[in-house]
């Protein structure tokens, strides 16, 4: 036993010493760990947990039990086994490619849809910086200074997957569905882009980590006329841009093509862009929707809800500079609190998206276009002008 402890201590020293001497290896290990952690979370939530939540949350909201019959040797796990059954079904089902469709493009489309959504997670921070062995490691896979634009670009490319799916299926109905989808997504990208510009005017950065740092570093009492507010109230985007937040939230629901704006798919009755898809390829489209809903929940939390910022616990960059709590609060607890607050905010928004998805009826197509171009776009423009004027004055 003593020998084992000795060995463990020895290897710990060696590895720590080695990594201190060769920080490049430290960064490589950190990058691998970050990527693996991020991708497992995204895949787990997008592929497994959200479809379970969709079934169970809707059931609980509607006074039902929800799917619970699938079991492995009698173990039902509150219906989680249904997702495994889904996967088995998707894999075993016939992978049908229409005879006149281009097989390569037909297969490419669902991967394009899901991979662009997944790639966007590379720039989403899940924390500020941590200091390990004297090296500062940013808790982002790719700490891009133009992170927000990268997310936007990936969402823009994601539409190509949908258009491609509808177009190469060689089916009139799927082509029409793809047209509906692209018109819808592109219209609302205008709105979501304009609403975020208001927030960008305040933060004066497109770096998602800087945005969170700004929100954590300022308080509402710093705004002229609001100095009577307690100092720990954070200057989150939602307080500075309430109209922008609502517009952005609605626009993201439209962009991820979820009910009440699910016209491109119309799961139950309208024929959508994915009618020529079956099995796992169809499930990839479903999964891209879930991944996007996680992506947008994350982005909303970063832009409008202060990311990992917890009021009173100033964690601009995970350096615990407490204002309410004392300096005695250990570093690890601070990091844990920050991560927990971030996770809780994201979970809340996933829950809210599901709540909206299971509460509201679908809008008509003309209502959708009216809402986007005649109502939300003018409000977004006015919001932008007023924000710009105030930003100049203040």
């Amino acid at each position: 036993m003593e020998y084992l402890e000795f060995l463990a201590a020895k290897y710990r020293d060696i590895s720590a010493a080695f990594l201190t001497a060769h920080p490049a290896w430290l960064f490589i290990i950190a990058d691998v760990l970050k990527t693996v952690a991020m991708m497992s979370v995204v895949m787990l939530i997008g592929g497994l947990i959200l479809s379970w939540v969709e079934r169970k949350q809707s059931a609980i909201m509607q006074d039902r039990i929800g799917a619970n019959r699938a079991d492995i040797l009698g173990i039902r796990l509150l219906g989680v086994v249904h997702n495994l059954a889904d996967a088995a079904k998707g894999i075993l089902k016939e992978d049908f490619i229409p005879p006149k469709a281009n097989p390569f493009l037909h297969t490419l489309a669902p991967f394009l849809a899901v991979s662009t959504a997944v790639v966007a997670f590379a720039v989403l921070p899940f924390g500020g910086d941590v200091t390990v062995l004297g090296q500062v490691i940013p808790l982002t896979i790719a700490p891009l200074p133009v992170g927000l634009f990268f997310v936007w670009a990936m969402m823009g490319i994601g539409v190509y997957g949908v258009i491609l799916a509808g177009y190469v299926s060689n089916n009139k109905y799927s082509t029409l569905g793809a047209l509906r989808a692209s018109a819808q997504v592109i219209s609302y990208e205008v709105v979501s882009g304009l609403t975020v510009l208001g927030a960008l005017l305040i933060y004066q950065t497109v770096d998602l980590r800087q945005m969170v740092a700004w929100q954590g570093g300022h308080s509402l009492s710093q705004i002229p006329g609001l100095h009577w507010l307690p100092g720990w109230l954070p200057a989150w985007g939602v307080f500075l841009q309430p109209v922008g937040f609502i517009l952005f939230f609605v626009a993201t629901i439209v962009e991820m093509k979820r009910i009440p704006f699910d016209l491109p798919e119309g799961e139950s009755e309208i024929i959508g862009y994915n009618i020529e898809y079956s099995g796992m390829k169809f499930m990839l489209f479903m999964m891209s929707e879930f991944v996007e809903s996680l992506l947008f929940a994350w982005v909303i939390v970063l832009i409008f809800f202060g990311g990992w910022d917890l009021p009173g616990l100033k964690l601009g960059a995970f350096g615990v500079d407490a204002s309410l709590f004392s300096h005695a609060i250990p570093y690890a607890i601070g990091v844990g609190l920050a991560a927990a607050s971030m996770a809780l905010k994201i979970v809340f928004f996933l829950w809210l998206q599901m709540l909206i998805r299971w509460s509201l009826p679908r809008v008509r197509y003309d209502q959708l276009m009216n809402l986007g171009w005649k109502i939300m776009l003018p409000i977004a423009l006015v919001n932008l002008v007023i924000t710009a004027a105030l930003a100049l004055l203040v």
Binding site: A59, M61, D63, L355, S359, L360
Partner: protein, 188 residues
């Protein structure tokens, strides 16, 4: 068609949406609480859902609900039926087949040698029960899960119709629902 005038607040849409979301949220947390209580205290009956977990749990049906037929018996266990053919005549689906024979008791004229009901044709109208002058046929077994892998399971002969157990399966037939025999409705 005149459309109802909406107020400004209603046309803003967001307040009305919040009302709807508040309703579903209330249901969500209320039911979540009940489910959690049921998990930690299984003796508490969950008020969280209106679902009945068929086939493990069955809803008690009203006694007048028309279900699978049965032939009532005399005290010696023989059918009350006198093979008068009233039910077969009244049947709109023509699913009752009776073959009469002499009854050994001289006080009774006839008895059925064969009494078959083709359940795949029966429309559960209850006319046979109304037509019967002897109260010999009833539709009060509370059983209606007539699903078999084979049509022969759906032809109920005299022995099956006289069987006291409504869940009995005709010889050689395989019932679709494996659970049907194990669970019986409450209150019967």
């Amino acid at each position: 068609m005149p459309r109802p005038k909406m107020t400004v607040i209603e046309r803003l849409y967001l307040p009305e949406i919040s009302k709807g979301l508040a309703l579903t949220t209330r249901h969500f947390f209320r039911n979540l609480w009940f489910h959690a209580v049921a998990v930690f205290d299984p003796s508490k009956k969950s008020k969280a859902m209106v679902t009945i977990a068929y086939p493990e749990v069955r809803r008690p049906y009203p006694l007048i609900a028309r279900s699978r037929h049965r032939l009532t018996q005399r005290e010696d266990g023989s059918p009350k039926c006198v093979a008068c053919m009233m039910c077969a005549t009244a049947c709109p689906a023509e699913c009752i087949f009776i073959e009469a024979e002499e009854h050994p008791d001289p006080a009774i004229e006839k008895r059925p040698a064969h009494f078959d009901i083709d359940m795949s044709k029966c429309v559960y109208c209850g006319f046979c029960v109304e037509a019967c002058p002897e109260d010999a046929i009833r539709m009060d077994t509370g059983f209606f899960e007539l699903a078999y892998f084979d049509r022969k399971g759906l032809i109920y002969d005299k022995a099956m119709l006289l069987n006291d157990d409504p869940y009995a399966v005709p010889a050689g037939a395989v019932r679709l629902s494996a659970l049907a025999a194990s669970a019986k409705p409450e209150g019967r």
